[in-house]
Symmetry: C2
Subunit: 349 residues, 2 copies
Amino acid sequence: MELLGRSDTAVRFRDPQIEMAHGAGGKVSRRLIEGLIVPLLQNPALERLSDAALLDVNGSCVATTADAYVVKPLRFSGGSIGELSINGTVNDLAVSGARPLALMAAFILEAGLPGDDLRREVEAMAHAARRAGVVVVGGDTKVVEHGFADGMYVTTFGIGLVDPRVSLGADKVRAGDKLILSGPIGDHGITILLARGELDLEADLSSDTRPLTPFIDALIATAAPGLRWMRDPTRGGVATALNELVRECKLGVVLHEDAIPVRDEVRGACEILGLDPLHIANEGQFLAVVAPEYADAALAAIRRTPGGERSCFLGEIRSEPARTVVALTAYGGSRVVDMLVGDPLPRIC
Amino acid sequence: MELLGRSDTAVRFRDPQIEMAHGAGGKVSRRLIEGLIVPLLQNPALERLSDAALLDVNGSCVATTADAYVVKPLRFSGGSIGELSINGTVNDLAVSGARPLALMAAFILEAGLPGDDLRREVEAMAHAARRAGVVVVGGDTKVVEHGFADGMYVTTFGIGLVDPRVSLGADKVRAGDKLILSGPIGDHGITILLARGELDLEADLSSDTRPLTPFIDALIATAAPGLRWMRDPTRGGVATALNELVRECKLGVVLHEDAIPVRDEVRGACEILGLDPLHIANEGQFLAVVAPEYADAALAAIRRTPGGERSCFLGEIRSEPARTVVALTAYGGSRVVDMLVGDPLPRIC
């Protein structure tokens, strides 16, 4: 859910036509969203978070989120479009501190899609929904002629109740807070790239798609008062999520380069391709900014949760350099970690 | 929002591949939805209405709805995909007796879409949202390569608060209830057909796309205790909406053939094409079943609302013929009005 972001600097959309990079989640996407869509549709009366919009429903705080899935290919090691469409939306709610109440799913199907392929994806959705403990309560189905889609696209919408114990937002983040990452990065993006077979690479790698709710539940149970901000770094990766954070909180993030968990297969593929793992999409990881007095308990809670063993302290929030993400190496070097520019990996989710 | 319908008869999906008719909203769509999607995703614990799913949020009844828009062409007389994507979702909420709280919008954009076309559609969405008194609070933007979409597709999700004065459902409908239609039918579908230029026909006709909230507000204010069921007859037209009603309520509907409001241009085009106006899509009309003692007040309330002047009593609910929609002519003849079969007018919304 990234249509409406905060727009504290004037951005103008003057591009003559839509390019793939407008969908990549990085700087060019920002120009489209903040330069065109937000100014026209913006509703300043509502508080906006990056991963879900919050609504007041007769005194209850409800989070809503929407995501379109156009991943190519439809199936890949460890997951498929159906599974992503559930987990991705569940995760947007989870990192908003919301427990999913219900999902809806809208399908755009291409004429000629084999019935078995559709069945497989609806089964994957049902399986993922059961695993995440959510229900799909409705939706829509449209069909376009052959040649006007790519098998199928799925858009899911989620609604959840925000846990009253948490109060999240970039404005809650303070210098000295700790940054936690839930596990190895880049698995999803590189898996998709390999599944396309465009590279002469093979690796024993799977997408990390999974529901984040067990981790968020553990975090809230253990460290709710210390939780400041959470995000699932999907398109644009950890680098883009953190750059959005520093832009909103006006502080800086310092990463420990050596602490970044990256599998050898991902690191190898990134080196060959000239990509930074921090820019690669994830579908089962999250970032959390936690007050220092809760940091150890929070990390322990994630590590105790199955699948959270490789979670780590990735860095800290500092007042300087403001609005900047910097990575420090063990040798004392440093580099600025920028947002994703362009679209090296299109249609990743 | 038609993914999950009631499934009181066993339907099986065995089609080898997806065809255009699977998206037309008629019998073939029903086979896909009730034979494949509902059995896999169904959640029997939740009450399901046809136009929106209802959720309990800490004691408040919340309606949610999802619709994908793939209309071709993107613009047509009287509207555009952007306008439809707002009005259609607002209307799904309205006929559920819900006041829209917020919408979300997810875009799938085709690389190469002119920036000005996108700007025009986002402006149309903003205009329609203002007109309907709703806000778009978030969404998503994805881009696919040129050749994998058709300019742009928009999926909108709506969330609304159900008016506590109404209690709608096919199970509330009784023999003797009156059926009201808000105005002339078929304008939208025939307008789209003409806009494609595939027919050597010209007619001074515009889509009826509009928000139904003013009509529903007037109905609720005047006749809330008598309101039994409402529906906006989009894909598949009035005939399909009423066939879904009789299937659910297990009663019959008798239509007065001569009472059906159809503009001459629509009637003429339908005659040439061999189509029944009752099967043609509408985007600004609704059907309401009202208890007889509230029927006159309800019709008067709609007629008093600007744009409701041509609303009428379209027919009645009868116990026989059960599960059937019949049209009676002035000459004493009768015909069974069936659901739409196949897809004479693809990508109408």
